[in-house]
């Protein structure tokens, strides 16, 4: 069954289902021949440290505003159809899904490019913060210079 959820942005604690999300991007959409989806998951290791879980915090309202702005910019740059961003917050275990970006377009190039653009900008603009939890302790992640460079390449 198709859920009646057409909002482009969802910040949620609960998991999402890829099949459902793709079905929503396809539903009543006969103009777009391309769907590109990205899913980010919790890795078991970072910087040589074993991770037991992640805790994700965000700044409500600003998060949605920031993602809406990124989507709007993507829509001015590429001829794309539908966009969906899901980002989870709260405590997430290894292997769990963190983030989903889905983009549709008539042809593949725009959907590939817009999807990567959205992820690159989400990484450096949207107010989310990750804390890594280890067996003995915890640490907030530092922002990576390489992520800044990836976002800059679009200009």
């Amino acid at each position: 069954m198709i859920k009646n959820n057409t909002a482009e942005i969802s910040i949620q604690t609960e998991d999402f289902n890829l099949t459902d999300e793709v079905a929503l991007l396809e539903h009543n959409n006969s103009t777009d021949g391309a769907i590109v989806t990205f899913t980010g998951r919790v890795r078991n290791m970072n910087d040589g440290k074993n991770i037991s879980s992640l805790t994700l915090e965000h700044y409500p309202i600003m998060t949605e505003k920031s993602l809406a702005k990124i989507i709007a910019t993507a829509k001015t740059r590429w001829n794309i159809g539908r966009v969906k961003i899901i980002h989870r917050v709260g405590k997430l275990s290894i292997g769990e899904q963190i983030v989903f970006v889905g983009v549709t377009s008539q042809h593949r190039h725009s959907a590939f490019a817009a999807n990567e653009f959205i992820m690159d900008h989400l990484k450096v603009e949207a107010p989310f913060w990750k804390k890594e939890n280890y067996l003995n302790g915890e640490q907030w992640l530092s922002a990576k210079e390489s992520d800044k460079q990836k976002a800059k390449k679009w200009f």
Binding site: L56, E57, L122, V124, A126, P127, W129, A143
Partner: protein, 86 residues
């Protein structure tokens, strides 16, 4: 909350470092984000160390701003570390 007050919120590592999620300050005598930073850095040694050493972003009413941004009554001001989502 009176209108002459500003709401200030802190997130993530900054919130934990300051042990403070939210506070209200009177806007009197304050004009820019720089003024607020100076005021907060004067609270005590921990706040001073944090504001002088931690890389921080600032948002006013959910939009990123720089230090020269002019503040007004009723603004919600947020300070936070560089973001690490995705």
């Amino acid at each position: 909350m009176k209108n002459s007050m500003l709401k200030i919120v802190f997130f993530a590592a900054l919130r934990e470092q300051l042990n403070c999620h939210e506070l209200s300050i009177n806007i009197e005598g304050l004009h820019t984000i720089s003024d607020i930073k100076k005021l907060l850095a004067n609270k005590d040694k921990n706040w001073q160390h944090t504001f002088n050493n931690m890389p921080l972003f600032c948002a006013v009413n959910h939009e990123m701003v720089d230090n020269e941004h002019k503040i007004k009554e009723g603004d919600e001001i947020a300070f936070f570390p560089p973001v690490t989502g995705g």
